[in-house]
Symmetry: C2
Subunit: 296 residues, 2 copies
């Protein structure tokens, strides 16, 4: 069998983002952690870590981490059957990649009961879908929530529902730029808000109205910041309906063109052999999606 | 003089995150953009771009981008004096690194009027302070908002005020874990929420209570997600008072230990030779901070 002391040292350095914190968590000296990493590298004959700040796993290191994660899941399931094996009261950690807008809206209430009952700690990673699935493939995360359906090898994808996005702006913004109604020809000149280079929602919205090519926009890679920019009248943008129900009801944000929206599908990607814990979380998300997200 | 056509092609590829979008913005074919980058590399004798997805500037490329940015600022100031030079109605872009919590709370109302009046588009980058200042040094951003005071060479730092953080949890969380009052000895066992590996606020809060070392926590790198996790009862954590005034007033979140808080200073870092536009934004932030942030 592998020497799991060495693999756990690698996992701790990557999860904690450094040797010092890894040493604290493992209850070792920093030089002992460093020694274990060197020994591991001697055994596998290649570097497992890039000594950057924070240290990052090499491709080989990632494969080792993927293995550690799978062994942890198997152990967790075993402990459930043979409680005497539980050597500590440490809660389990689940590392999950998800899109920023889900995290800003429905994610927490969907998983809260499950996490409390199962004593699960979440390690959330906010990523757009390509990167999320890449992390999944590298074994860096146990699951991934994104808009792409196709699962990576060894994983399943489950359709949870759709998130509805409305194009919104503040009343002051509308009065400033569109006092006589929204003229489609001016839409490319007035400032929009875009989450980041991969956010194509505003492009799709404009394209549906026949507006193509470049349009003026702020870039704001934060769900909450996006809404704050819209509220302050800096621009218009597509925002999850779930995030702004009260602001819409109170008239603090208004629809650019009522009735025009974009629905984005949400798929939950999870390892087929991810263990009972991941299966339980998957069931909780499926149930929540059926009652709280838009249906297919 | 440099051939600015070539430098602008580099800037467009990096700013737009790819050759295709850069070509759209510049109104060129993709191969023309590619040609200009190759020509630039031939002139400087080194690669200026890593051909990754998205393409990233090499250290030399970054220095060239820094130069382009400074020339743009000078041009903008010149256009103000010689309006006939304004060759387009294109709004100016300002690239700014800032911390997630400022963006989620006071940033947008502080800059909204200035951006509308000056026709400025913001390109916001969310970074913790070390990375924000590193981007500043590399000339990737025009300014940086963070908790560190010391400016990089060529820049100034201005104290804007302090953000107050309160340790909060949901009433259900308090009832579950602290029905008989908050026992400090149990604080390391009940789940906390931590923004990321560099977020030491929870550590500092616990240390002030005499609790040292490892504590159970979720990781959630999103300001809004952080509040959602707290609201759903997944954990306790330090949240900007500005972000949760209504939730506190409505009793949806409560203080762990009333009267215990952490104040975090906010410094605005900006280039000394950043031009009139950056000076104007700096003045707007100084004024807003004086009336809306905690004083020193």
């Amino acid at each position: 069998m592998f020497d799991y002391k060495l693999l756990l040292a690698l996992a701790a350095v990557v999860e904690q983002g450094g040797f010092e914190r890894a040493a604290q968590v493992l209850g070792l000296s920093q030089s002992a952690v460093s020694q274990r990493i060197k020994l591991l590298e001697a055994r596998v004959g290649q570097p497992v870590l890039q000594r950057s700040t924070p240290p990052q796993a090499t491709p080989l290191g990632m494969r080792l981490l993927n293995h550690v994660q799978q062994v942890r899941w198997l152990e967790r399931d075993l402990r459930r059957v043979v409680p005497a094996l539980a050597d500590s009261q440490q809660p389990e950690r689940l590392r999950i990649a998800l899109n920023a807008d889900s995290l800003a809206t429905w994610w927490a209430p969907a998983v809260a009961d499950f996490c409390a009952q199962q004593q699960v700690l979440l390690e959330l990673v906010v990523e757009d879908q390509q990167v999320g699935l890449k992390r999944m493939r590298a074994g860096e995360v146990a699951a991934c929530l994104c808009a792409a359906e196709r699962p990576v090898a060894g994983a399943r994808s489950l359709a949870l529902g759709r998130m509805r996005y409305l194009a919104l702006a503040s009343p002051a913004f509308m009065a400033r730029y569109f006092a006589d109604g929204v003229q489609r020809t001016r839409l490319a000149q007035v400032p929009a808000i875009v989450f980041g280079p991969d956010d194509q929602l505003q492009h799709r919205y404009l394209a549906a109205l026949g507006v193509h090519g470049h349009f003026n926009h702020h870039l704001c890679p934060s769900s909450e910041g996006f809404v704050q920019l819209a509220l302050a009248g800096l621009g218009w943008g597509l925002v999850p309906e779930l995030q702004v129900r009260e602001l819409l009801a109170g008239g603090e944000l208004v629809e650019l063109l009522p009735g025009q929206f974009i629905d984005v599908p949400l798929y939950w990607h999870y390892w087929r052999q991810g263990g009972a814990l991941l299966d339980g979380l998957t069931a909780a998300l499926r149930d929540y999606g059926q009652t709280h997200l838009h249906a297919w």
